[in-house]
Structures are given as structure tokens and as C-alpha cells.
């Protein structure tokens, strides 16, 4: 899968159900970086501004600073499953797939609904 497709699929399903349905064919987005970035910003605006975080839209945040989204309490594993994954938070399970001896069965976030 094209890396950019991967990123969008992953980003979409991590955020919310179906908020990204209107970007149907990501492979059409090949005309350059400008178009990709504005689609990402639109996605974030749609996501954050629909909730109470109206002032947290990426392009409204102060410049020259880094922002990591606050995690919410959801999709929490029980203890045995948590230990097996290395975290109790399903949303933080981001395995490395770039190696041949991989037996972990990579599940990208995009695979989860």
C-alpha cells in the first residue's frame, strides 16, 4: 500500500467512525504535497471543531510549538491483554512491520473499525 494511503487510512479510523468517508479515493491525491496537507487540515478541523475543541484546530494553534493530542479513556485492555501488547491502550498499539521475521501479525490502525 502506498505510504500516504496508509497514513490517511490509519488517521481516519483512529479518530472516529466514518468521519473520513468523503475522501474516497486517496490514490487520486497524487498531484503534490500542497493538496495532501490541506486535506489533512480539513480532516483535523472536521474532527476537532465538531467537538468542544473549536480553538484547538491545527491552524488556529500558536506557531513555533509542538502539540500532541490528549488521549481519551477508551478501548482499554484487561491486564493480561495489556501485557501481551505492551500497553493497556489499544490506540497506542503501533507495531513495527518492517522486518522479515515479524511474527506479530501487523495490525495497522486502519484495520480497526
Amino acid at each position: 500500500m502506498d505510504y500516504r494511503q496508509q497514513r490517511y487510512g490509519r488517521y481516519n479510523n483512529r479518530r472516529s467512525m466514518g468521519s473520513y468517508q468523503n475522501v474516497s479515493n486517496v490514490s487520486n491525491v497524487s498531484s503534490g504535497c500542497g493538496e495532501l496537507e490541506s486535506k489533512l487540515q480539513e480532516e483535523v478541523k472536521h474532527e476537532y471543531c465538531d467537538e468542544d475543541f473549536a480553538d484547538k484546530c491545527l491552524d488556529k494553534l500558536p506557531l513555533a510549538m509542538a502539540y500532541v493530542p490528549f488521549q481519551k479513556w477508551r478501548k482499554v485492555y484487561d491486564a493480561p491483554t495489556g501485557l501481551a501488547h505492551g500497553t493497556i491502550f489499544e490506540e497506542l498499539v503501533l507495531p513495527f512491520c518492517g522486518y522479515k521475521n515479524n511474527t506479530c501479525g501487523c495490525g495497522m490502525r486502519g484495520d480497526r473499525s
Binding site: 490528549f70 479513556w73 482499554v76 491486564a79 493480561p80 495489556g82 501485557l83 500497553t87 493497556i88 491502550f89
Partner: protein, 84 residues
């Protein structure tokens, strides 16, 4: 029925890890009720498992050694020895 040494240690490892991860979440979300409840649940399970392990198999902490006959803190295997 008493759990085996391996079963108990496995349980302690699992519940302690759940506490390790939720503890970090609580550091940045100190008022999250769901997280506080998750923590409290596993805190109790952990205390029970550790007491049982200490009574049946040996100490986990040097602050809690059954010191009646022998200082078992130094007579039991260390964790880096592994099972092999």
C-alpha cells in the same frame, strides 16, 4: 486452592503492568474517574496476589520478608536467572 508459583507470578506481572500503564495515564489525567476506578481494581488484585506469593513462595520486596527462620531475600532465585 493455592495458585502455583508460576501462575501467581504471572498474575502479579500482569496486574502490576496494568497499574504501571494506568499510573502514567493518571499522571496526565489526574481526574479521570474511569482511570481511577481501573487503578483501584487492579491495586486490590495486586495486593492480594503479592500477599499470597509472599506467604507461599517467597518475598517480592525486602520490606516484606517472612524473617522467622532464614533471610529468604537472598536464598531465592533472582529474576534475571530466568526459567531455563
Amino acid at each position: 486452592m493455592t495458585r502455583s508459583r508460576e501462575q501467581l507470578m504471572c498474575c502479579i506481572t500482569e496486574v502490576s503492568f496494568a497499574i504501571d500503564d494506568v499510573k502514567l495515564y493518571l499522571d496526565t489525567h489526574p481526574c479521570d474517574k474511569d482511570a481511577l476506578e481501573y487503578y483501584e481494581n487492579y491495586r486490590q488484585l495486586r495486593n492480594e496476589a503479592i500477599s499470597e506469593y509472599r506467604d507461599c513462595y517467597g518475598p517480592i520486596s525486602s520490606y516484606d520478608v517472612n524473617a522467622e527462620n532464614v533471610w529468604t531475600w537472598v536464598t531465592e532465585p533472582w529474576p534475571w536467572e530466568g526459567e531455563c
